[in-house]
């Protein structure tokens, strides 16, 4: 499965072929530059427009810190939940065939296709005061909507498919010969999973977790419907960005936004670290 490091065939190196990598790299850098770096620059330049002092100040207000805490809490709950689900769903659908399997695959993708506005709305329809379970929740003094629980639920919904979606094709492509061999050799089911399956899917799993994590941190639309936007209590970082922006505190808004961008870069830094630890290398 590991990437072959055997030399790319020297067979017929035309001039075109020699220039090809340079061309592709340049094109990639231009595309990434236009589509991603430029927007990031706008965020950073705006964030530092008034200097480093105001930037750091914006990040240290109690409201920002409380939004940061809520965002981290959300991610810490949502990502493990969806990872366990993703592995479980991938095991069931990639290693086995059963009636309704392709329907199940579609249903797993479904949350991706739901507009964020709706992703929040469904929980309001279910748990809101006028919702199906609203009266019962109110009678028992339980709060889901307009409380952290609602934010966590909506984020779980939005990032539901990410891990499963990455794992299923990879696990399917790998088949189950390796696992069956391990079982025949006397390994337990759990051993087989941790020693055979997991190493095989680690990259897909990592990508899935990274995507899930990034999206969970950045989710705005669904969360804004269920949050109630109470300053210092139910604001996540993305909601806080919007609030600051709407208060004409552009610098502070983009400072907090840059924090979110930084988180994305950090996750990927983590990935790079794991890559170098496990000896997986790119050509």
């Amino acid at each position: 499965m590991t990437t072959s490091k055997a030399s790319v065939p020297q067979l017929r190196r035309t001039r075109l072929q020699r220039w090809w990598p340079t061309f592709m790299v340049t094109l990639t850098l231009i595309l990434v530059g236009l589509l991603l770096v430029l927007p990031l620059l706008v965020v950073l330049i705006t964030a530092f427009r008034s200097g480093v002092g105001p930037y750091l100040q914006a990040l240290q207000t109690p409201d920002t810190l409380s939004a940061l805490r809520l965002s981290l809490l959300t991610v810490l709950i949502v990502v493990p939940l969806n990872t366990v689900f993703g592995v479980s769903a991938a095991w069931a659908t990639a290693k086995f065939d059963f009636p309704g399997r392709s329907l199940l695959l579609t249903l797993i993708d479904l949350p991706l296709a739901v507009s964020p506005v709706i992703s929040g709305l469904v929980y309001v329809l279910l748990f809101g005061r006028q919702g199906w379970l609203g009266p019962w929740l109110e009678a028992n003094d339980l709060k889901i909507i307009f409380a952290p629980a609602g934010i966590i639920l909506a984020t779980t919904f939005v990032t539901f498919s990410y891990v499963a979606r990455e794992l299923i094709p990879v696990m399917q492509a790998q088949g189950k010969d390796d696992e069956e061999a391990a079982l025949t050799l006397g390994a337990s089911g759990w051993q087989t999973f941790t020693r055979v399956t997991l190493p095989n899917i680690r990259w897909a799993l990592l990508y899935g977790v990274i995507m899930c994590n990034a999206r969970a941190l950045g989710e705005f639309g669904a969360v804004s419907v269920v949050s109630g936007k109470i300053r210092g209590l139910t604001n996540t970082l993305p909601l806080h960005v919007e609030i600051l922006y709407n208060e004409y505190q552009t610098v502070a808004a983009f400072a907090v936004a840059s924090l979110l961008a930084l988180f994305a870069l950090l996750t990927l830094g983590l990935k790079a670290l794991i890559e170098s630890r496990t000896g997986h290398s790119h050509p």
Binding site: V124, F127, G128, I145, F146, G228, K229, I230, E247, Y248
Partner: protein, 326 residues
Amino acid sequence: MRRIFTSALLLGGAATAATITLLNVSYDPTRELYQDINAAFAKQWQAKTGDTLKINASHGGSGAQARSVIDGLEADIVTLALAYDIDAIADKGLLPENWQKRLPYNSSPYTSTIVFLVRQGNPKGIKDWGDLIKPGVQVITPNPKTSGGARWNFLAAWGWAQKKYGGEAGAKDYVTKLFKNVPVLDSGARGSTTTFVERGIGDVLLAWENEALLATRELGVGKFQIIVPSVSILAEPPVTVVDKNAAKHGTAKVAQAYLQYLYTAEAQEIIAKNFYRPRSQDVATKYAAQFPKVNLFSIAQFGGWRAAQKKFFADGGVFDQVYSGR
């Protein structure tokens, strides 16, 4: 005496020292206003009762905020952009139908109106509503379907046109032409301000007076000026206690006191400083330079907010006709 007692309890670590939490659910442009009000009221309340008061605030589009309260956001107080949104909360039994009669001035401790913000020097020579439909004039307003402020804009334009052209047909023709000059319909009032101020789009911004003043004083000094049209609408953003939530939290009294405080001289001064028109005559006189005289008509002209909402902004209403008539 009681204060000393409370402090003693606090020192003793007893849990009875009262820290009261209030939640004020409000609309978008009032953030700065209520930050000031909350601080001032909490101070006054502590001086009077010894209780520590923590006032939480939530801001967003007026309709979206009302919907949150309906769906279970436990606001003790709502301070929204238009009465229709509080009516909607009353319809769900969270507060009595006659809420608007409970406080003076239709439960609106401050008012505002709709004015024009133009670029410095008024290059397009905009003086009144009639100028907005001239060819080549770009008008920025938010979408009345998603913004409370935009609904006031629409009704202000309609009111002027109805008088000017003497009827509904003329008014409809006018607003149709007006919206042909609108290149961007942002989803909220603050989005529109940004489009006009930061993106440099448009010749006129239809805006809350308080937002326009904020823009000229704080966002771009010397870059914009305010044009006051011959007539405009009297915007009355209402406030009320959400009785059911306040009863549940045991905050009815302090919530009531909070709203009454808004009518005091001290609060009226804060209101004027935040560019809202105060109700108090004394404060109004003091800030007369800030608030030019405008001939105002009120929502009553449209039969109140429920009727106006149904006629103009509901699906298939006048606003939809303006666009689908193309």
